[in-house]
C-alpha cells in the first residue's frame, strides 16, 4: 500500500518532487541578470522551493535596481545573483550577509573553490565563470591563409588582410558601446598590458602612463577595423553583426556562445564559427581579458527564515550535477561534475593562460564609469591619448572625492 502511495505521489509531482529539499516556510525573491545560464540556474533552484513563496526578476538592468532594492528594510529581494564587479557596491553599503553558518548547515555538495571569502567570511557562492575571448570564422581565415590570431597585433594584421581581400569591410567586432561596455574593453586591454589601475595600497589613479597610452592606441586600431557605428554597439548588436556574416573576428563574452552557436541563423556561418582563447597584447604573457564569476549573495535586510529558505533553494542549484550536465553548453559551470564542452574553450584557455580576475576593489566602479565616458573623444580622433587619460583621472578623482575614497 505504501509503495503504491509513493509511486502515485511520484507520478503526481513528476521529477520535481524528487528534488524537493523540504523547505517549509519563508519567501524567496531573486534578482538576476538575464541570460540563458542564469535562467537555467534559477529554474533549477525553483524545483526545490517546497512550500516557500518563490519569485524571480531577470533583468539586464539588474545593476541599477540592486542597491536601492537591497537598501530597503525589509529588502525587496532575498537574493541577488552578482558578479565580481556587482558584489562590490553591495559590500560597500553592507547590504549582504555572511553565509558561513548556512554553508555549514546546508552547503553539502558546494565545493570549497566555489566560496567567495572576504576577510575570512563567505560572502557569495559562485557557480559559473565568464570571460571575453576571441571568436573567428574558420572559412574566412582558411581562404586567406591566416593563422588563428594569438595576440591583438595579429588580430589587427588579420583584419587588415581580410579587408584588403575585399571579403569584408569591417572584419572585427567588439562591444565598444560608450559607457560600461567600452570601459570594460579598456580594462581588459590595460590588464593585458600589465597595468595596475591604482597606485599600490591607495585609491590614487594610475592609468596616465605608457601602458594606458598603448591600451588606447590598440583600442583605436581595432575600432578602425570595426563597423563605424562601433560606439553604439553592445554585445547583442555585435552578435547580430556576426550572424549577418559581416564579421570574421570578434571579442565577445563566453556566456554568449550558446546563443551564437544555436540553430537560429545561417547554418554556414554557425558551422564556421570557432572559439579560441583570449588574445594577449603588447608582448605580454597574460591575456587581455578579465575573469568573472557569477554567484549568489543573500540580502542582509531580510528575516533569517527567508535567508535560510533562499540559501537552500540556491544551494540546491549550485551543487546540481544534473543541471550542469544538461546545460553543459550554456556556461562554464564551477559546480562539481561539470565536463567542459567545446563552447567553454574560451574560459578554460583564459584560466590556463593566467588571466586575472576583474579587480574587486571598492573604488573600481568609479574608475569604470569615468573610463566609459572620457575615452570616447580619443577614439573619435578629437583628442590625444594623453589628454583622454588625463580626463579619466580627473573625472575619477572628483567622483572619488565625493564618495570619500580620496
Amino acid at each position: 500500500m505504501r509503495k503504491i502511495l509513493v509511486t502515485l505521489l511520484f507520478l503526481l509531482f513528476g521529477t520535481s518532487a524528487f528534488a524537493d529539499c523540504n523547505i517549509k516556510s519563508g519567501s524567496i525573491n531573486i534578482l538576476a541578470n538575464d541570460f540563458p545560464a542564469l535562467r537555467t540556474f534559477v529554474e533549477t533552484s525553483k524545483q526545490c522551493k517546497g512550500s516557500a513563496d518563490f519569485k524571480v526578476t531577470h533583468s539586464s538592468e539588474h545593476n541599477k535596481i540592486a542597491v536601492p532594492a537591497l537598501t530597503a528594510n525589509p529588502s525587496e529581494f532575498s537574493a541577488r545573483i552578482a558578479a565580481n564587479s556587482s558584489i562590490v557596491p553591495l559590500m560597500n553599503q553592507d547590504l549582504i550577509r555572511p553565509l558561513d553558518d548556512l554553508v555549514k548547515k546546508y552547503g553539502k555538495g558546494i565545493q570549497d573553490s566555489q566560496l567567495i571569502t572576504i576577510d575570512g567570511k563567505v560572502m557569495a557562492v559562485a557557480f559559473m565563470a565568464n570571460t571575453q575571448h576571441l571568436y573567428y570564422r574558420e572559412d574566412v581565415l582558411k581562404d586567406l591563409g591566416i593563422a588563428i590570431p594569438k595576440t591583438y597585433e595579429e588580430v589587427v594584421a588579420a583584419s587588415e588582410k581580410i579587408r584588403a581581400s575585399g571579403k569584408m569591410q569591417y572584419p572585427y567586432a567588439a562591444a565598444y558601446k560608450a559607457g560600461w561596455n567600452l570601459a570594460e574593453e579598456f580594462v581588459n586591454m590595460f590588464i593585458g598590458h600589465g597595468g595596475e589601475f591604482f597606485k599600490s595600497g591607495s585609491a590614487e589613479p594610475n592609468i596616465n602612463n605608457a601602458k594606458g597610452v598603448a591600451t588606447l592606441n590598440m583600442l583605436k586600431k581595432l575600432s578602425e577595423l570595426s563597423n563605424p557605428d562601433y560606439l553604439t554597439h553592445d554585445s547583442e548588436a555585435i552578435k547580430v553583426e556576426w550572424e549577418s556574416g559581416n564579421v570574421a573576428l570578434m571579442t565577445l563574452w563566453a556566456s554568449r556562445s550558446g546563443t551564437l552557436l544555436d540553430d537560429e541563423g545561417d547554418p554556414n556561418i554557425t558551422k564556421a564559427t570557432k572559439l579560441t582563447g583570449p588574445a594577449t597584447v603588447g608582448g605580454g604573457n597574460i591575456p587581455a581579458a578579465t575573469l568573472w564569476w557569477d554567484g549568489f549573495t543573500l540580502a542582509k535586510n531580510r528575516p533569517d527564515a527567508d535567508a535560510e529558505a533562499t540559501f537552500r533553494a540556491l544551494a540546491h542549484a549550485a551543487s546540481n550535477k544534473k543541471m550542469v550536465a544538461d546545460a553543459a553548453d550554456q556556461a562554464v559551470w564551477l559546480v562539481e561534475g561539470f565536463v567542459p564542452g567545446p563552447k567553454s574553450i574560451g574560459v578554460i584557455e583564459a584560466v590556463k593562460m593566467g588571466a586575472k580576475p576583474y579587480p574587486m576593489l571598492p573604488q573600481m566602479g568609479l574608475m569604470h564609469g569615468a573610463l566609459g565616458s572620457e575615452i570616447v573623444e580619443f577614439l573619435q580622433g578629437k583628442e590625444s591619448a594623453e589628454q583622454a587619460l588625463k580626463d579619466v583621472e580627473a573625472a575619477y578623482i572628483s567622483k572619488a572625492k565625493e564618495q570619500g575614497f580620496l
Partner: protein, 342 residues
C-alpha cells in the same frame, strides 16, 4: 474670480505641488551640499574561484558608526558644485592662466563634462525651439487653409510624432540611420564614402538629434497654434483683403498679434522641455557624442555602480537655475504686459 474663491480653487493643486515638487526640490538642494563620509578601508584576504589576493574593502563597522552619527554625510558646501565634474572653477582658472590663445582656452573648457553637456543642451534648445515654433505655425496655417473635409485625417497625421513614445520614435530613426539602414546606406551611396556613419560623427549625431527634436515637438506647437487660429476674428481680415493687403501682410499685422500670447506660451513650454532633453540621447545610443544636463544626472544615478547622490543633486539644482535663466526674459515680458493690461 474673487481672490478667496481662487484660493480655495487652487488649494488642492498648490498642496500637491508643494508636497510632490517643492519639498523634493528642497531636499535635493540640501543633498547637493553633502558628500559621502571618508571611506574607512581595511586590507583583507579575498578568495574566489581564481585564487586569493590581499586587497582592500570598506570597513562596514566603522563606516556605519560614522553614518549613524551624521546620516546626511559630510558637509561639503559648494564643493560638489565647484569640482571638476560640475562648474570646475579651479580647472577653468588653471586653463585661463596656462593657455595661450582664447581658442585653446575654449577647447579646454568645453572638454569638461558639465560644459560639454551645457553646450549640447543650449545648442539643442536654440535650434529646436525656434524651428518648432516656425514649423508648427506654418503647418497650422496650411491646415487652416485646406478644405474642411480632409482636415480631420490630416490633423491626425500631423500629431502622430507626438503620439509616438519618444523612445520608440528615436529608436525607429536610430535603425533607419544605421550604416545598413535605409537612410544610412543611401547617404553612404550618395556620398560615395563607405566609412561615413551618422552615428559615429559627433556633428552628424547632433544634427540627427536636433532634427528628431523638431519632428517630435512640432505637433505640440501646431495643435496650440491651430486652436488659436480658430479664434482670429474674420472681420479685420476681410477688411484687410478689401484694403488690398497681401496674405503675408495679413498674417504679420492681424494673425500674429492676435495669437501672440499663445506664441509666448508655446515658446516657454518648448524651452523648458528642450532644456531637459534626455530620451533621444538614450534612444540613439548617443552618449558618446552628445550629453545633456539631464543625461548627466541619469549617469550619476544609474550608470555608476556607486550612486553619486551629491553630484546628481548638484546638477539637478543647476538645471533648475538654467531653466529659470532661460525663461527669465520671456517671463519678465509677460509680467510687464500683464501689468499694462491691468
Amino acid at each position: 474670480m474673487p481672490n478667496k474663491t481662487f484660493f480655495w480653487f487652487f488649494l488642492p493643486t498648490g498642496l500637491a505641488m508643494i508636497l510632490f515638487i517643492g519639498l523634493p526640490i528642497i531636499s535635493t538642494g540640501i543633498q547637493s551640499f553633502y558628500a559621502q563620509h571618508d571611506q574607512v578601508v581595511k586590507e583583507v584576504k579575498k578568495c574566489d574561484p581564481f585564487g586569493c589576493t590581499v586587497s582592500i574593502v570598506v570597513d562596514n563597522e566603522e563606516t556605519s558608526k560614522i553614518r549613524e552619527a551624521k546620516p546626511l554625510g559630510k558637509f561639503n558646501g559648494f564643493g560638489t558644485y565647484t569640482d571638476r565634474n560640475h562648474l570646475a572653477v579651479d580647472e577653468i582658472k588653471k586653463f585661463w592662466n596656462e593657455t595661450e590663445s582664447f581658442g585653446a582656452f575654449v577647447d579646454q573648457v568645453t572638454n569638461l563634462p558639465f560644459y560639454k553637456a551645457l553646450i549640447f543642451t543650449l545648442t539643442y534648445c536654440l535650434f529646436v525651439t525656434p524651428n518648432v515654433l516656425l514649423l508648427g505655425f506654418i503647418i497650422a496655417l496650411s491646415l487652416n487653409a485646406v478644405a474642411r473635409k480632409i482636415r480631420g485625417p490630416l490633423i491626425f497625421g500631423t500629431i502622430l510624432p507626438m503620439i509616438v513614445t519618444p523612445l520608440v520614435g528615436s529608436l525607429v530613426l536610430f535603425w533607419m540611420i544605421d550604416s545598413q539602414g535605409i537612410i544610412g546606406a543611401n547617404i553612404q551611396n550618395l556620398m560615395n564614402d563607405p566609412y561615413l556613419s551618422l552615428k559615429s560623427s559627433k556633428t552628424l549625431t547632433w544634427i540627427t538629434i536636433i532634427i528628431y527634436g523638431i519632428w517630435h515637438h512640432s505637433p505640440f506647437a501646431f495643435v496650440v497654434f491651430y486652436a488659436a487660429l480658430q479664434t482670429v476674428p474674420q472681420e479685420p481680415i476681410e477688411a484687410a483683403i478689401i484694403d488690398g493687403a497681401s496674405r503675408f501682410q495679413r498674417i504679420k499685422h492681424i494673425v500674429l498679434p492676435h495669437i501672440y500670447p499663445v506664441v509666448t506660451f508655446v515658446a516657454l513650454i518648448s524651452l523648458m522641455d528642450n532644456f531637459r532633453v534626455f530620451e533621444p540621447i538614450i534612444g540613439f545610443s548617443a552618449e558618446g557624442s552628445a550629453q545633456s544636463l539631464s543625461w548627466l544626472i541619469y549617469d550619476n544615478l544609474v550608470n555608476e555602480e556607486v550612486i553619486l547622490f551629491g553630484s546628481a543633486a548638484a546638477t539637478s539644482m543647476m538645471t533648475i537655475i538654467g531653466i529659470a535663466i532661460l525663461l527669465a526674459p520671456v517671463l519678465i515680458r509677460t509680467w510687464k504686459e500683464f501689468k499694462t493690461a491691468r
